[in-house]
Symmetry: C2
Subunit: 639 residues, 2 copies
């Protein structure tokens, strides 16, 4: 943490770097309006070129993709991180008439920091006062849902999750006979295996409400983070991913962290956790929140620990509680709270290979041991719920005893904690407080499904939110991949959100390149999971990209991918000339022979020969060949 540099950065630059705000190639930001004009759901629309005439010459439809990047990729928006983002939910929150604006922060620490001249230079210039539920009111989305209320947030989410699929279908239908044919091609999707999920063909606002009401999904949406664009986490919705950012005592600055956040959402981070542990946690978080269109999560015990100079044994419930209020009033959308790290489970970790690897878990373990007492997070759990429901902060019940090695996977410590998280879920739900459950860690593939199944059962289908899991320990430097393998699988089995792991895991703090590598890997895992579950419309993007690939529409292939820049760079390494992006061949085979071209011959041939191409093929053949075809046809009929 470098205070002077930070202050300079924040005063002078005030913008995020160009790379983070440039719209993606051939993409435009569109807003789908809901039932009222202030429900405007952002999507990214990717325009495509026409199919070359040699392949049929048809017009290809615009493809709509989920867009987490906020107004940063909207050329019409003015970005000034000193002012923060517009408070798009402010009206919805106010009109519910169940909150009040406070005179100022009600946490002791929040007031202290506001008055501290030493950090004045670093402070975000927030003019808005914090809000809180009126006495006796509960302002959680779950509370509304259970009373049958469909909030604007819920409607927003329903529109968002459907990805403008109807418009895509209609634009194809408008294309007459060719369009109908394309519709069939582009909308086809393999049946999924969802392992008991209940994913409807179309997400309605009522479905969002019902899932939130029964606790199977959460909408992390603190009333003090009105800048956030509503999103949902639940097994019957698109699988989401989280990106961790945050400075440590050793390195990085506020400016860098804001930049990492805008960078993370550009590439598809659905939520961001600020895990800062340095001296200016409070100020860093404020800058991130005010500029973040995605929900922000934190681990409040990290900051509480800073307040007692890193001495875990000096933590108290009062300090922790003040920290919760401080952060809730800044607008944090979900709190990781390791309330399942209970005293009796701690000795279970003594025989582990890697003990307790969760930072929050080990802080609480140290406290419990020092005091010979049950964790104050556990004993004060209902009080925590009272705070959560006054701001609508969601629980992310932390897995403080998650395994830190393949050796420790699915052991008694981990599973005992998971069962406790299930009990705590029911307590939170009694208060209408939203809950998700954090999960492993390091788990070999054959034990991943067991994790998911136990979680679904013990935690009553509260959304699971897992780190990886890493499927082997032997690849430091590549743990985005060891864990991406596990993440794809657990996402398929029912996990609702995947916490990314970067290549720097176990080795150092991620830089921007690492953040991007982590995000893209996890977008792949999440999408592979959506496909495998049979999420409606999940295959649209795969189909569109494959069609572009087949037709040598290189630019469209790049643009429909998760990372157009890298795809284009890789292509250009071998065939840099602009003309090569219209070439009907690639560097793998060269211009002389190309398998894609031959397929077109097959297609033309089949077309020419009429519907029964197989019979036609037989016509011109010698006796022996006919015999073979008969044999083949038999095999084919058996299939």
């Amino acid at each position: 943490m470098n205070a002077p540099t930070d202050a300079k950065f924040l005063a002078a630059t005030a913008t995020v770097d160009d790379a983070a705000v440039k719209p993606l190639p051939n993409s435009s930001k569109v807003y789908i309006e809901g039932s009222r004009p202030d429900i405007r759901v952002p999507m990214r629309r990717i325009a495509q070129a026409d199919t070359p005439t040699s392949f049929g010459g048809e017009k290809n439809p615009d493809v709509y993709v989920y867009d987490c990047s906020g107004i940063y990729t909207d050329p019409a928006a003015k970005i000034d991180i000193r002012s923060g983002l517009p408070a798009l939910r402010a009206g919805w929150i106010a009109e519910r008439n169940d909150t009040e604006e406070l005179a100022g922060p009600s946490s002791a620490f929040g007031r202290e920091r506001e008055a501290d001249p030493k950090t004045a230079e670093l402070r975000f210039n927030l003019k808005r006062k914090p809000r809180r539920a009126l006495a006796g009111q509960n302002v959680t989305q779950m509370h509304y849902a259970r009373r049958g209320i469909i909030t604007p947030e819920m409607e927003y989410i329903a529109i968002r999750e459907n990805l403008n699929r109807q418009a895509y279908i209609e634009s194809l239908k408008a294309g007459g006979k060719t369009g109908e044919k394309m519709l069939e091609l582009l909308m086809r999707q393999h049946p999924g295996e969802s392992f008991g999920a209940s994913i409807p063909a179309e997400i309605t606002p009522e479905f969002v409400r019902s899932e939130v009401a029964r606790g199977r999904a959460i909408i992390p949406a603190n009333i003090n983070h009105p800048e956030s664009e509503p999103m949902i986490i639940g097994r019957n919705f698109l699988v989401k991913i989280n990106a961790n950012i945050g400075n440590s005592a050793v390195t990085s600055s506020i400016g860098e962290e804001v930049e990492k956040m805008t960078w993370a959402i550009r590439w598809g981070g659905d939520t961001v956790m600020d895990l800062s542990t340095g001296k200016h946690i409070h100020e860093t978080r404020e800058w991130i929140l005010r500029n973040s269109p995605v929900p922000i999560g934190t681990v409040p015990i990290y900051q509480a620990l800073e307040k007692v100079d890193g001495k875990a044994e000096e933590l108290t419930w009062e300090i922790f509680k003040d920290t919760l209020i401080e952060q809730a009033e800044q607008g944090v959308d979900y709190f990781t709270i390791h309330a399942g790290v209970r005293l009796p489970y701690i000795p279970m970790t003594a025989k582990r290979m890697t003990g307790i690897v969760s930072r929050g878990g080990s802080i609480m373990a140290k406290w419990c041991l020092a005091h010979h007492k049950e964790s104050f997070l556990y004993t004060h759990f209902e009080e925590i719920c009272e705070i959560m429901k006054a701001y609508d902060v969601s629980f992310s019940l932390g897995d403080g005893l998650r395994p830190g090695s393949i050796y420790d996977a699915n052991d008694e410590a981990q599973l005992s904690e998971l069962r406790t998280l299930g009990e705590l879920t029911q307590i939170a739900w009694k208060h209408d407080v939203q809950v998700m459950i954090e999960g492993p860690g390091h788990v070999p593939m054959q034990l991943i499904k067991e994790n998911m199944d136990i979680q679904l059962k013990e935690c009553h289908e509260a959304p699971f939110y897992t780190l990886g899991p890493l499927t082997t320990d032997i690849a430091p430097g590549y743990d985005h991949i060891t864990s991406g393998i596990g993440a794809a699988q657990i996402g398929w089995y029912g996990c609702a959100m995947l916490c990314y792991v970067t290549p720097k895991e176990h080795l150092g703090l991620p830089n921007k390149k690492d953040v991007k590598d982590g995000i893209i890997t996890y977008k792949i895992a999440a999408h592979a999971a959506d496909l495998a579950k049979g999420h409606p419309g999940a295959q649209i993007r795969d189909n569109a990209l494959s069609k572009a690939r087949f037709e040598f529409r290189w630019e469209d292939q790049f643009n429909l991918g998760l990372d157009p820049d890298t795809a284009k760079d890789f292509h250009d390494e071998t065939l840099p000339k602009e003309s090569m992006k219209h070439a009907h061949f690639c560097s793998m085979c060269g211009p002389h022979f190309c398998s894609m071209k031959i397929t077109q011959d097959v297609r033309d041939y089949a077309e020419k020969q009429g519907v029964d191409a197989q019979a036609a093929l037989q016509k011109g053949m010698q006796e022996k060949a006919i015999e073979f075809v008969k044999m083949g046809a038999e095999i084919y009929r058996k299939a």
Copy 2:
């Protein structure tokens, strides 16, 4: 292809680059001797530091890992790529007395090239003459196996697959009480789920023989590639990976391809396929073979196509046959032959999204359509078997109709071809010719197991060798990851060898960085699969690395990983000082608070309190806390 540069490189440099021959850090090459002195099986031995005294101070055992890198990483060896590698199997082949040395190449093309002054500069200076089976003899490993003969190759493989586990165990046992405790820790492994594989606790030469005899494993070992270090591919052995290299008409040179080969095996490529398509395929292959300690695979139809100037319709059985003999006499260990692309299946691809994407498949499709005839690969299959058994070339029955997109996965064309490959397997086995089966391609996760199960059934457990599969199409630039996810799963389900995919897939030809990224990703997938199957000893490396990680033995953590260089670089980006590699903290948490350190406190605490730490914990607690512990203890007992 750049002939002058090549000639210059080959004449002058004559060595591979330093980076490819430097031994890996703290690693030494050891050779385990078999029943005779000329069976010397290479392994990499990784030495570890002692555990810091604060963690117990014990001596950590050397870890042995599989080593594909040949003598390149042996400091005692003299590397001169102009001379090639020593012919370690020459004696074994000769002593079987079933082969003869030919006067020269027996293929027309081989003779023509030998006499061609234009390529003289480019030619490897091979003094050895090609060998062939004596008339009426069959020299395949399968043939020996079926006659009950355990070849030196089989014994070599048995030693190799066991990874010197016994020595590891004994070195621990020698450590007295501490050693026994460590043994328990370091050898523990989760039970696997092998989906019907039959993996023994120890691989014996007889087991190798029996698996080869029944066709469930292959040993690709052409008698004209005596430089190769024997290895095995089968579902009851360690999962293997293949790296593709090769120039194209558009780019790269012979020197680069040799360098890619040495680079690929350094990082763990078990076999290498030379997919060159340029002008000097024959010469490039010779250089690669003479310098490769791993089996080399090719797709002979690529070269046959060059011989007819890229005009698929001009291919003939005679040209193809001559190519097989040419390559078999050079020493190619396995041939990809797309004999399952049958005429009646071709029209099935007309309605695909991406048609036929296999280069070999589309060449044969074009030929079949042009001639209205069944494929000559299919009609001449038994003649091909005759060639294979005269040199011991293994079949890699190509999946010419593999899906090129998620859309096309598991369609009738793909599955019809797979069934035909099963029929061809039985024909090959009739000739005692070794067979593996190539597989997809692009397949969403929920359809991967179906692929594997159908392959096992239809192809009678002949080893499956798959490309990926890619689990989504939407990430060009990251297809090592989209496919690594699928590869780990299919490896777990029973696939014997995983063909790597590099980040350049679909976009361009891989450079050295891409080759390494592909290899490491696939080593991860293969190892994750070994762990999940419960392969004996698979967890040893994970356990050792995790122990090093927990004890802050940074260098050991790097060195036990798949890529020590990258791990170290990543660590040093944040904490570059040498002293930091002995620091008992990392950049993630900083020196102030560290979860690993706290775990040590837990351990000390549990130790101090005696065996029943749980009861001890209760002692100092207040009434309410005791109540909680009782509840917790109950949950714990239930577990």
